[in-house]
């Protein structure tokens, strides 16, 4: 597979983006396939953006917000969670494996948790690729 696998990660400015900064400060290592897009709140991410990224060839998409109850904007992450269920359900309707999308909660003080989420997503997509590459799967 010549195409470089990339994961788009929408990170909330107040928690996961800060945690990603902290992961750097702590020199935690995670896969190089992650491309973080900073958003002000996980509730800002329109489901279409997730679909758009997959349509454009992203291997997977993550939305990472603050722990429930700790939203900087009171309840944006609850909104994101409600939408994430929509996205997960709809992905299958639209022909994508629902595993390609994941929502996660990480506080600004949890860089290791973030790095682990990145690693886990990357591994999950790698195993998905293996399944995909098998002849019985529906390929491109």
């Amino acid at each position: 597979m010549s195409r470089e696998a990339k994961i788009i990660a929408f990170c909330c400015n107040w928690c996961s983006y800060a945690a990603a900064d902290l992961a750097g400060i702590s020199r935690l290592q995670y896969p190089g396939s992650i491309r973080i897009i900073r958003v002000m709140c996980s509730g800002m991410v329109h489901p279409e953006m997730v679909i758009h990224a997959l349509d454009k060839g992203a291997d997977g998409v993550m939305i990472i917000g603050c722990h429930l109850g700790e939203c900087h904007y009171i309840r944006g992450n609850e909104m994101a969670l409600a939408r994430a269920e929509v996205i997960a359900d709809t992905l299958e309707d639209l022909g994508y494996e629902s595993e390609r999308f994941r929502i996660a909660w990480v506080s600004s003080a949890e860089p290791e948790r973030l790095a682990e989420a990145f690693r886990e997503m990357s591994a999950r997509l790698a195993s998905l690729r293996e399944t995909d590459a098998s002849p019985s799967g529906i390929g491109e």
Binding site: M40, H46, M49, A53, G57
Partner: protein, 1027 residues
Amino acid sequence: MAEQTTIGAALVVGGGISGMQAALDLADSGYYVYLVEKTGAIGGAMPQYNKVFPTNDCSMCIIAPKLVECGRHPNIRIMTLSTVLDVAGRAGNFTVRVREYPRYVDVTKCIACGQCSGSCPKSVDDSFNSNIAKRKAIYIKYPQAVPLKYQIDPQACLRLKNPDKCGVCAEICPPGAINFNDRERDHEIKIGAVVMALGFQTFDPSKAKVWGYGVYPNVITSLQFERYLSPNGPTDGLLTRPSDRKPVKRIAFLQCIGSRDKNRCNNEYCSAVCCMYAIKEAMTVKEANPELDVAIFYMDMRTPGKEFDRYFERAKNEYGVRFVRSRIHGVEPKGTKGDLRLHYISVQGKQVEETVDLVVLSVGLETPDSMVKLAEKIGIHMTPDRFASISAFMPVHTSKRGVFTCGAFNGPRDIPQSVIGGSAAAASVSALLAPARHTLTRTLPPPPELDVRRQTPRIGVFVCHCGTNIAGVVDVEEVAAYAATLPQVAHVARNLFTCAQDTQDLLVQEIRDKGLNRIVIAACTPRTHEPLFRKTLKSAGINEYLIEMANIRNQNAWVHNQQPEVATAKAKDLIRMAVAKVSSLTARKPLRIPIAPSVLVIGGGVAGMTAALNLAQQGFQIHLVEKTTQLGGNALHLFQTWNGEHVPRYLKGLKEEVQQHPLIEVAYTSTVLAVSGHVGNFVTTIRTGANRKRVIEHGAVIITTGAKRYIPEEFEYGKIPKVVASIEFDKLHMHNETRVANGKSFVFIQCVGSRNQERPYCSKSCCTHSIQSAIKLKKEAPSRQIYILYREIRTYGQRERIYNQARELGIVFINYEMHGPPRIKKADNGVLVEVWDHVLHRPLEIRADVVILAAATLASPEAGDLATLFKLPLNSDGFFQEAHVKLRPVEFNVDGVFVAGLAHYPKPLEESISQALAAAAKAGRLLARKEINLEPNIALVDPVLCDGCGLCIDVCPYQAITLVEYRDGEGNPLKTVHVDQVLCKGCGICQGACPKRGVDVAGFTYAQIEAQIDAALDQSCVLEEDA
């Protein structure tokens, strides 16, 4: 002599974080500030640290923007290499003589190119790096120094010692800035007030050989350890053994080096910060290498601050840092290879010997002798511990009127306390100099802004090396060359430190010379640095929002430092994404909001009254809302402060002052019912008494709603009348009630309801409170037997003195952490307390006449309602969560709302007062401007796409969206939504709901996010994989 007038300027002595904060608050509040710093650059100690606790933020990253802010503030004059000679005059009108020592480099000419340093032949120990590295005789203190100007160390320079020698720097300096004939100059400055933020020095452990410091190379101080860990340090953050550069496997931290010690030094006090920084440093190394064995040897872990105990628990349970309760008497060598041996006693009383590679001495803080002398010269009283003598009731006032103090000069303290102190001093100065506000300040008109709407984007990309932080991993040359190939990129440059002050000047120059109209900074994180670069854009005459940062350090170079190729490729992607986004950014104008010059203070405790009084003294109208029928809050139950000052007397005076001040209006039995509006123009409805409602318009809010006490459920409280809570006991004690008067034996039990599973935080003031009560009891009748059963005695800072005093008086301290909490039984004529001794490991029985429970401080139950009304976050313990634990300790992300006192976290009286003053400083700073600019980070409605379906209205957490009807040109009725520009906080939750892209947040529009996605996934940019 003419009548003395008040001078609208202040002198801040000391350019550390506390002094900088005081200077910034004052300069923004309408006073001119002289910031005097004895070294060549401001910043103090913070730039030396690797990270800060408990957020683990990179220290330099969070202070660098503040440095630059000080450096370019039009109303702050930084005077480096300067010391105060004397202060004459009186409050409001001082004349100060300041001596400026020669820099030997003309600051107006120096361009900080560094060629001088490169060719200087003389190397000496670099004190900024705690002497673990060398610097040249001509040098800058650190790369991000402000001002970024070289200086010559006259002690080291060959030329200055002998005019016939060297002088190579003068020959090589391109602008000819070297001046060997520079001489010291004295300045006479007229100011109205002085803020002493003289700072601290760390204890020098070489004075006592016993720890092997200066003898064994593998014994280092915690500050040296910070420099080893710091990515900007001489080892680029790589920790090896100093003796042989081998990897470190076992590290021991020894606490209380130069603190809590009458023997090796005369520092009886606790340095208050070492426990936390040792945990931080231990966590940092464990994080990088979990296999390391890291142990902290301590007496009491003093982690009483907000989120500190959780940090401690995390270090212990998640990171596997070993905590050993044993003070290490000395460090011995083991063999000749550099190993070190520790010989200590376990809590069980068994000998243990450990061999470690590295010993880190957690050195304490102390006031330098030179500062003690200066203080004496100015006439400031000092404590026996050599800190400024201050009353708990006036925590930033010195014994000399008009002279204020803050920071570690007031006693050892951490960064937030220093920042709070800086702001509190600013508030006190503001109150004193209020008549002269705005008399000496100037406002520079911003340069005219270029209209870029019609221009095609000309993007400038600036790639930061960040020393070796980025350039050591990412091939920056390759990345820069790649950036130049991207569409619309007109200019690419690389900088060593893009955040340095001189780089800002360079950026402005490049923007103008190359006609750039959009900027990408590929460096660190926008969270800390974007505001800085925005100001740079503004001063270059382009709209400050036409910038995007590519985070190629924190989220790239640092997390892929083992894979340089991956990091280089990703850096290109990140820059491509930023370029894609920046080209569609649009100019935005800040929202200008007029400000109502009044403040609503919610809560009439000491914090609330202090803030109200200070702001009233500054000349603002105050509405003080108190839910009960009287002012005073929790302080009504207090007897004395930690140093024995009488609280009721002080409280009476404060209440009278508040009640009599013409600008303060107190509403009793009142609560906040509803809030609308926003910073500058809040409209708050309060309910007074049963049913009277009133509407108050105000520009800012200070929340000082206090806390409530825990009602114990343990230790037979409520069942045995001789078991009382500490606040009740204070009352009994004050009135010498029979239980107290006839009592012969008293037992205090600490941590009742604190530091448990349900409330994993420390209530901070109880240790001090119990000890103070115990001392008073003992002094009243020395024959009384007094026992304090504790888990960790947390008499941080100079409070340690009362702990020492208590023991000297024979008060018995028994630690129940190891063997479990005491058991309480009813006895014949008293209470029987059973507890185990922590040293002898034997059961003890105490017959007590009174058992006093040091009950926890709990978050106020009303906090939740207020949080909802003002849209503020609470932490998981129910206290208000400030904007940034370190640098914004009284602010929220909601503009115009501030917090102080127990509503923020349990704390003793003087810290509440200090914080209240800091909150007042922030409110005053806001109100001093009659108009403010708000960040236009708001959702904008596209009238072409929005049709008013209303799906977004209910989703807005700020109720900023309303449905509006209008008619088009042909009179057809149409609908759309309107977003209130001030209520909107720019979260974009509406954007996530809209099915037709009718509303999105400036700077994060659908198009911009899509552009980033597309750029990230742009396959044309992927290099073919090599076969």
